[in-house]
């Protein structure tokens, strides 16, 4: 897939980092402000999609990236599941219980395991949306070849 014009490339170069950071911000403040893992993950995926669309990519590169996103996605959701199972090993020993110390309400590091869920769900959502995008792109490349 070919890239776009120089104007688009330059603008994307300036914007992509900001969008990525904004997504991270939404994810790690998930337990304090509106938004969370899912919303932030979509924004993070958006920054990657923007870069791929602006700069273009070749077929081999896309398939390698798709392998990477698939593994990230599964690893992230597996870790989220392990955190939930951790509730059965620590504390009150109940599935999905909040087994870390809660901290003070309103601080960034608080609410026990909830920020961890947000982070890994954010990774999962970002990686899976990117996987869907890459799969469609690979399909299109295969059609044109």
């Amino acid at each position: 897939m070919k890239g776009m014009t120089l104007i688009v490339k330059e603008t994307t170069r300036l914007l992509a980092g900001l969008i990525f950071l904004y997504g991270i911000y939404i994810i790690i403040h998930g337990h304090l402000t509106p938004g969370g893992g899912f919303a932030g993950g979509v924004v993070v995926a958006g920054s990657f999609i923007l870069l791929i669309l602006a700069y273009g990519s070749d077929y081999m590169h896309l398939t390698r990236e798709e392998t990477g996103t698939t593994i990230t996605e599964n690893l992230a959701i597996l870790i989220a599941l392990l955190i939930a199972l951790g509730g059965m090993a620590f504390g009150v020993k109940i599935f999905f219980s909040n087994w870390l110390p809660r901290g003070t309400v309103g601080e960034l590091v608080s609410a026990g395991v909830i920020p961890l869920y947000n982070i890994f769900i954010g990774m999962e959502v970002a990686a899976s949306i990117l996987t869907i995008f890459l799969a469609l792109l690979i399909f299109k490349e295969e059609l044109t070849k």
Binding site: T67, T70, I71, N74, L75, I77, L78, L81, L82, A84, L85, G87, M88, V92, K93, I94, F95, F96, S97, N98
Partner: protein
């Protein structure tokens, strides 16, 4: 709280994600991982059915206790009915995975297959264990979406068409179910099944709940392929890979369709006679129409798929008779008998229908065709497939000593005792037509004697496939024992008590 309950969902989920990761690095490992997961689940379901003994286990996820007597968290409920369904899901799942061991190697990307399979199992276990309406919806979507992908696993033209049809109708069903759930949440202000029952029994807004009942009945009816909603089933079940057809026909339509209808209409809604009559009529319709649609089919898997509709009709009709009697409040022992027939036939159908689909897969594996006209004389070269499929055919047609005979007998006796003579007569006629249709299957596939060139060197299928077929055939024989009063008391009576007396279900959850 029984720690096994969340593991029924966590283990297959973990298996699915691990398969995807390991499959990228060690592609040979994923089938062993799949078997390990299913073996664990099958043992856990046997343990839970052995230890439950009439009680109810409740698991409050996250440890959220009720506030002021109102359950606020996610509740998972394990009682005899769900334990029975768990056994069916996980044991048939285990046998399907063993069968896939060699069968699925004719496809590419095996790791996707095992991953999606584990996800489907997780979804079904979740539906069966869930104690509230919304989680039923969530888990139903997990199992439905993975089954859409599995139906299209071969990515041939016909499979893609089938899965598209399945997705459109399945999506419609999910929408209708969500709408019904929303209506109940709107008025009852709760999603917990036991809590909603208390509100519903307080008894205002009857027409409103009637609408919700109809929406949920049509949604889950679509999932269970009861007759006006059956259009997707023959395509989807016939074009999936055979172990998946066995799972879809043998387990999925029961776990996400029939089971939920039982649970909601017996344990949540106020049973009204008109809904009970409607369910009975739908069941009778699918029983009668399904078999007549089946008899003209020449594609083995389509024939079996139409028979699924017909056999599910038996289950729904028998449960409907039970519902009518429970709503009238008369003849409780006949209602219990009808429900016993329904549950027994449900389990039996899981055994013989999955076996028949596995047989069809074995035939397709060796001959490469699903058309009955192109087969013939397979009995000589595929003895295990031929004999197990004979057992399954006789079981589904209701011949003694196989399990189908006893469950159909119980259903017919219950219909006669409830004075629904017409239904009993229809059940007998449908059974005879089923026998005719399966004699056709046996004759054309195995005994026709016609041996074309190039078919002389057909061999029996590999050992893993034979192993799971023979195990299922043994189940077809051994499940007959469940008709004995002693076993019936252990297996069915507690489950029926939960269905007929909703207080049994709600009291432990609400804590009085």
């Amino acid at each position: 709280m029984n720690p096994l309950i969340p593991l029924f969902i966590a283990i297959p989920l973990a298996g699915a994600f691990l398969t995807m990761i390991l499959g990228k690095f060690l592609p040979r490992l994923n089938k062993y991982l799949g078997i390990t997961v299913l073996l664990l689940l099958a043992m856990m379901s046997l343990i839970s059915v052995a230890t439950i003994s009439g009680g109810t286990d409740i698991y409050k996820v996250g440890g959220w206790e009720p506030v002021g007597g109102i359950p606020i968290g996610i509740y998972m409920v394990l009682d005899n009915l769900s334990a029975l369904l768990l056994c069916v899901i996980n044991i048939v799942g285990l046998l399907a995975v063993i069968y896939s061991f060699t069968y699925i190697s004719q496809y590419t990307s095996e790791n996707y297959f095992y991953s999606l399979f584990c996800l489907m199992i997780a979804g079904m276990n979740g539906v069966v264990l869930s104690g509230d309406l919304f989680n039923i919806f969530v888990f139903l979507e997990i199992s439905a979406i993975s089954s859409y992908a599995l139906v299209a696993f071969g990515v041939e033209r016909e499979q893609l068409e089938a899965t598209f049809k399945y997705q459109v109708l399945g999506g419609l069903a999910s929408l209708v179910i969500l709408l019904g759930t929303g209506f109940i949440y709107w008025k009852a202000k709760t999603l917990n099944i036991a809590d909603a029952r208390e509100v519903l029994w307080a008894g205002s807004e009857k027409p409103f709940y009637l609408l919700a009942q109809l929406l949920l009945l049509s949604g889950f009816g679509l999932k269970a392929a009861i007759i006006p909603f059956h259009a997707w089933l023959p395509d989807a079940h016939s074009s999936a890979p055979s172990p998946i057809s066995a799972m879809l026909s043998g387990v999925l339509i029961k776990a996400v369709g029939i089971y939920v209808i039982f649970r909601l209409f017996f344990n949540m809604f106020v049973l009204s006679e008109e809904i009970a009559v409607l369910i009975t009529v739908l069941g009778t319709l699918s029983m009668a129409v399904g078999v007549f649609l089946a008899i003209g089919q020449w594609d083995i898997k389509r024939l079996l798929a139409y028979h699924s509709i017909s056999q599910m009709g038996y289950v729904v009709m028998s449960a409907g008779i039970g519902m009518i009697l429970v709503s009238r409040g008369t003849k409780p022992e006949v209602a219990a008998l009808a429900l016993a027939g329904a549950l027994f036939h449900l389990i039996n159908h899981a055994a013989f229908k999955s076996l028949l689909f596995l047989n069809a897969g074995a035939i397709e594996y060796r001959t490469g065709t699903r058309n009955l006209r192109e087969m013939g004389g397979l009995a000589a070269c595929m003895p295990a497939t031929s004999s197990t499929s004979f057992a399954a055919s006789m079981a589904i047609s209701g011949l003694p000593p196989f399990n189908g005979f006893f469950s159909k007998l119980i259903i017919i006796i219950a219909a006669v005792m409830a004075r629904f003579y017409l239904l009993a007569a229809i059940a007998v006629i449908v059974s005879i037509v089923t026998l005719a249709s399966f004699l056709k299957f046996q004759r054309y596939a195995f005994y026709n004697g016609k041996r074309e060139a190039g078919k002389e060197n057909l061999r029996e299928v590999p050992f893993p496939m034979v192993l799971s077929m023979v195990t299922l055939a043994l189940f077809c024989l051994l499940l007959s024992l469940a008709a004995l009063p002693h076993f019936r008391d252990i297996i069915f009576t507690p489950a029926i008590r939960i269905l007929t007396d909703a207080q049994q279900y709600t009291a432990p959850i609400l804590g009085f």
